[in-house]
């Protein structure tokens, strides 16, 4: 921790320092995060827990460069992402982060493989190279045989696996998952968790996962709890 000016951990991949996030709704100020610090090392699998409305998604968005803190800094590797412009952030996200959402958020008009290909469209890869990457990603989530299927013809678990394939196809620095099993039954959820765990252990992917489910957080290498805008390593009542 270096909220008090201590030297930053050089092995840290994610450094969130003294972050505050205030939303304005009408004349009302909503203080969601206050003076929050978080460090995640390369190769960690961190579970982020906390009551509904505690600001888990907000924090994940800050780390993923989808939003900027009101005060404080967010650094990923060598990049101070809170200081980047919208455009720079978009380019940074394309290169460094993969997102996995609770409701999968696949584009309904594209087949599974086309959905997985989407992030690759922002790279300079040729069509053949893109195809190879997509095949690899789909194989990793075990959905090669569903490549040509549209999302609506896939089960929730399968859709989420496509979502993960899309999240990792560019081999991002960081994989951010917001309640990836929140909408799945236990069995499909377990498959997803197995997959994430394998990605972390075998590929060394750094993963931050928001979850409500202790069963899910048990798979992580570390669990942090968000409560009243602050983090704690142990659950706070």
């Amino acid at each position: 921790m270096n909220a008090n000016g201590k030297k930053a951990d050089p092995t840290a991949l994610v450094r969130v320092e003294g972050v505050e996030k205030v939303f304005h709704r009408g004349s009302e100020d909503i203080h969601v995060l206050s003076r929050l610090d978080l460090t995640v090392a390369t190769g960690e699998f961190v579970a982020l827990m906390g009551p509904s409305g505690s600001g888990k998604s907000t924090l994940l968005n800050l780390i993923g460069g989808l939003d900027r803190p009101t005060t404080g800094s967010v650094s990923i590797g060598d990049d101070r992402i809170d200081a980047l412009s919208d455009r720079q952030l978009a380019v940074w996200r394309a290169r460094h982060v993969g997102f996995v959402f609770q409701l999968y958020n696949l584009l309904p008009v594209l087949t599974a493989e086309r959905n997985v290909e989407l992030p690759l469209l922002l790279t300079h890869l040729t069509k053949a190279e893109r195809r190879r990457h997509v095949e690899t990603a789909l194989a990793m989530v075990g959905l090669t045989h569903r490549a040509k299927h549209y999302p609506r013809t896939l089960s929730g678990g399968e859709q989420q696996r496509v979502g993960i394939a899309r999240g990792i196809v560019t081999d991002p620095t960081l994989l951010l998952c917001d309640e990836p099993t929140g909408d799945l039954d236990r069995k499909s959820g377990d498959e997803i968790l197995n997959l994430l765990q394998a990605l972390n252990r075998e590929q060394g992917k750094t993963i931050i996962m928001v979850t409500h489910d202790p069963h899910a957080s048990a798979r992580a290498s570390r669990t942090v709890h968000l409560y009243k805008g602050q983090l704690a390593s142990e659950p706070t009542p």
């Binding site: 290169r95 958020n105 584009l107 309904p108 989407l118 469209l121 922002l122």
Partner: protein
């Protein structure tokens, strides 16, 4: 373009809605094409008129005749190179719906006056030596499948209830694409001798004169009218263009009507397509948020939406203009009233630009909205 399948997928997401919008665009552009062709048919003649030609007609109206003897007096006026006369024959071939213009003329004068009509030397010679000879333009010859040597019977209610038989001795072409090649012309000497007393022997319809210097046309027109002031048949002289326009004017201010209809149609189209696009973007704000999360820049999202609206508009416009082309390529739908009925390339180009403008105009607002969308907020909508 590697985003093509994404744009296409989004466009075809709501098939019924897209089809209906597309249909309205197609219909509007077919209408646009046809109206352009109609306007061209009605006004095109004005532009084809010679700048150095004047028309001398009876002051009271077009249907009043002038003495043939005026010709010599007109030609004596300084600045006039040549004068010739024509008379409205108003005949039909076999059936009243087979209308096309015919006029008795003096061959040598006529051919000198109308360099835009191309007649071979051989046909010209045949016409000069055949008293009952007639020449006809390519479009009419093709229409009735006439060939040189045919005997062509024409009925005219104006000149005695009888059938006039002409020998087809020549077929002329137009020097340019827009030249009117409907007309049939036959010899005035044959016409005048064959008319009965009381059918205006010695009278003709109007004179066409050519001035040496087009810049002096107005002044010469005044001189001609002064020449016949206070005579039994006073004249009105005007440029050929104005004369043709006078014909068109009888139908109304075509340009204005066509313009008015098109403005109304395109305004409606703007609303229809605009609301389709607005809806299309509103219902997928979440997806646009996902694209941004993945790393699409605001500019790329803007382009995706604009490309979609432009594709829709250009597809509809292209289809509509193609149909209009197909319809107009079959030529005059009235069988003779609108000889210049065709879609000009410049009107096609205008239609193409209009469809692109439609795409940009209807896409820009939703695209702007998509661009401004904050990604974190868009994701919360899911």
């Amino acid at each position: 373009m590697k985003f093509a399948h994404l744009i296409w997928g989004n466009l075809t997401r709501r098939k019924l809605r897209t089809s209906l919008t597309l249909l309205s665009i197609v219909v509007a552009f077919v209408l646009f094409g046809l109206l352009c062709a109609v306007r061209q048919a009605l006004e095109g003649g004005v532009k084809m008129a010679g700048v150095d030609r004047l028309i001398v007609r009876h002051r009271v109206s077009l249907i009043q005749l002038l003495p043939e003897s005026y010709k010599a007096r007109i030609e004596r006026i300084p600045g006039i190179e040549l004068a010739m006369h024509q008379t409205w024959f108003g005949g039909v071939y076999q059936d009243p719906k087979n209308f096309f213009p015919q006029a008795p003329v003096v061959p040598e004068e006529f051919l000198t006056m109308k360099p835009e009509l191309v007649l071979s030397a051989e046909h010209r010679q045949a016409w000069l030596t055949t008293r009952t000879g007639a020449i006809v333009g390519r479009s009419t010859a093709d229409r009735f499948n006439w060939k040189i040597g045919d005997k062509v019977p024409i009925q005219s209610p104006l000149w005695g209830r009888r059938t006039w038989d002409f020998d087809l001795v020549g077929i002329y072409d137009g020097r340019e694409a827009g030249t009117d090649t409907r007309g049939m012309f036959f010899r005035y000497d044959y016409f005048d001798e064959s008319r009965q007393e009381g059918q205006g022997k010695g009278l003709i319809g109007w004179y066409t004169i050519r001035v040496k210097d087009p810049a002096r046309a107005a002044e010469i027109a005044r001189r001609v009218d002064e020449e016949f002031e206070n005579s039994a048949a006073e004249t009105k002289t005007e440029p050929e263009g104005a004369f043709v326009q006078g014909f068109a004017r009888q139908i109304g201010n075509i340009g204005f009507i066509v313009g008015g209809i098109l403005v109304a149609v395109f305004f409606t189209l703007l609303l229809v397509t605009g609301s389709t696009m607005a809806q299309a973007v509103r219902e997928r704000l979440g997806e646009l948020g996902v694209l941004k999360a993945i790393g699409f820049t605001n500019g790329q999202v803007l382009t995706l939406v604009l490309a979609e609206s432009c594709l829709l508009a250009v597809l509809g416009g292209g289809l509509g203009l193609s149909i209009a082309c197909l319809v107009t390529s079959r030529g005059d739908p009235t069988g003779g009233l609108l000889p210049l009925f065709y879609l000009r390339n410049q009107d096609l180009a205008l239609g193409g630009s209009l469809s692109l403008a439609l795409g940009l105009l209807t896409g820009i607002f939703p695209a702007w909205q998509a661009m401004r969308l904050r990604v974190a907020e868009a994701l919360r909508r899911l």
